[in-house]
Subunit: 266 residues, 3 copies
Amino acid sequence: MTLPVSQTLLVCPEKGILHITLNRPESRNSMSLQMVQELQATFAWAANNAIRAVVLRGAGGHFCAGGDIRDMMTIRQQATDNPQAYQHFNRTFGHLLTQVNSSPFVVVTVLEGAILGGGFGLACVSDVALAKADAQFGMPETRLGIIPAQIAPFIVQRLGLTQARRLALLGLRINGEAAQKIGLVHEVYADNEGLEAALVRVIQDLQQCAPHATQVTKALLQQVGHQPLEQLLDDAAEAFACAIQSAEGMEGGMAFVQKRAASWVL
Amino acid sequence: MTLPVSQTLLVCPEKGILHITLNRPESRNSMSLQMVQELQATFAWAANNAIRAVVLRGAGGHFCAGGDIRDMMTIRQQATDNPQAYQHFNRTFGHLLTQVNSSPFVVVTVLEGAILGGGFGLACVSDVALAKADAQFGMPETRLGIIPAQIAPFIVQRLGLTQARRLALLGLRINGEAAQKIGLVHEVYADNEGLEAALVRVIQDLQQCAPHATQVTKALLQQVGHQPLEQLLDDAAEAFACAIQSAEGMEGGMAFVQKRAASWVL
Amino acid sequence: MTLPVSQTLLVCPEKGILHITLNRPESRNSMSLQMVQELQATFAWAANNAIRAVVLRGAGGHFCAGGDIRDMMTIRQQATDNPQAYQHFNRTFGHLLTQVNSSPFVVVTVLEGAILGGGFGLACVSDVALAKADAQFGMPETRLGIIPAQIAPFIVQRLGLTQARRLALLGLRINGEAAQKIGLVHEVYADNEGLEAALVRVIQDLQQCAPHATQVTKALLQQVGHQPLEQLLDDAAEAFACAIQSAEGMEGGMAFVQKRAASWVL
């Protein structure tokens, strides 16, 4: 199955890792409806093609500056004909967030420059978030008379209610170091060299991990809080028994005893 | 509608901001039943009078030292006649916490001196919490043979279970810097000048934000986790479409394009 | 009632505190089925014998290196006869985690050396976690082709989803200082002297707190999020009225007024 064609993204598979670059640098990679739909298609492709991780970043020194103003102005001009266009535009981005959040591979974001609105939301659904110290994170919506709608639940889940309230209600911007302190990103680097070296290390780390076990673990973590604890533990014990008796579990155990790298380590 | 009369509070509206000062400095602003009821009336007034934010602080260098001992001793003397008086006293404070937590405006707390028991609970339901570095935060209840009852859910929501367990079970006190590290407060200042300057800045920030959009955003954040994710995202998309087509949304969009301040910026 | 006999644990009651030392240093205190069952019996004994706190640590410089490899190899050899043995082995450890998490006394962990897999899970269900700066925390499961199954919900509850995803999906190890920054442990010390002094202080702190009030508070905190807020607050008000009218509540109030230590302070 070939990669979906994309006009707004640069997409490059390499040894089981899919590198996706948001590529609308002229608008700081703001989210057009087209870009949202191309991301949906690309993540769907990755889920069906044994991809172990997606690395998501932006071209031109910015990650993503939020929703595309031009798309919104186009909708405004058409709004008398199609009053639900705004709702559809907004909701589609939410479908993307849900898809990325629950994707069956590891999602790494590389966060530089502007990470605003929808870009902030995308950062919040990544498994590993690496940032430049001078990156700018923010939810400017209320300053524009609108609301952080689709991103709200993912922001609260990522930061907790306390930090989400302050940032969203005051429309504040914070830098990478502040973003790390509140648990939005995991690692922060002062320069590009540090950031790129960290990305190489993260990729090496995730290649140490068995692909299927990683997928099952990610699904399990997401399930926490969505079913009763004892039932979740029962299911987890069953999944554990499956994992340890699977080809991966057998290979992992043998590699450990034989003090060698497992077969999935690249 | 005139402000409710209050004996335990100093209340001062100024440009859409309501400044409330707990004013029982002789008892470090401990929470009497009267003070709780006057706060309820004042917050209800604010919700009906286009207030954009409440700034809550204490007179005399303390925020609030917890429940009022004198009230509790009075109840003890009357307890044979009214065994449910303790329960009512306690539960009323919980109603206040729920009211403040879900109030339709931004709540800013300025935290100095003692922030204990019920005062600790109030800090936990503010949208923005500014503290002095030498402030003393704590839940001393278990050291007094009683329990942190009404504040418990708000503490857990604010700090997470891990920090809540340690602080409540050991009856510990922590200072402002430690409070910031565990996510209880957002900003900490060594001296009064720093604290007051921060308050001025927070008020300026919140005045940049559209009042109605702020109210809708606050309600949306509070809704997270209380309804299924996909339904919440559907509702949020509808709210987004309303917001962008509202007077605020139109003004916000125009102000952005015209590179000027929006009409709601004071 | 005498303490249950134990081959894998050192157990020592002292002034209402039960000191439990995982004592399989030859395997870095890895969790055998026998050790799990002996911990279950010992925690059950403590719950029925007026124990105010359990201090849990490991012999030989390590806390616990995870599930016992020898037990798992034995199961592998028997697996054709008993395919559910893995599931039972795994699920039993989950029952222990639930038991420790909801135990009616304060649980303090002292974390040195390896805190891996199941050991990581045990750290996550303690009320107070003290660590050495050079301790090694990690979930290596996915690197072994298996999954962090029973510990998953307790990890997410302790660290939040954001940190849990990164650590579990990359199979990372972090030291004590990093563990404190993400809220896994409360206090970190560079040397043994600092760690032991902290433990003495924690024990002094918890002995300041009324035993029954502490028990009720712990149960209340755990209840948050598991019943509707207003109902929880109603129940909490009733529990408050009980507490303040109890022998502990009367003694606590009198000790406060008389500026003396309460009777439960050792």
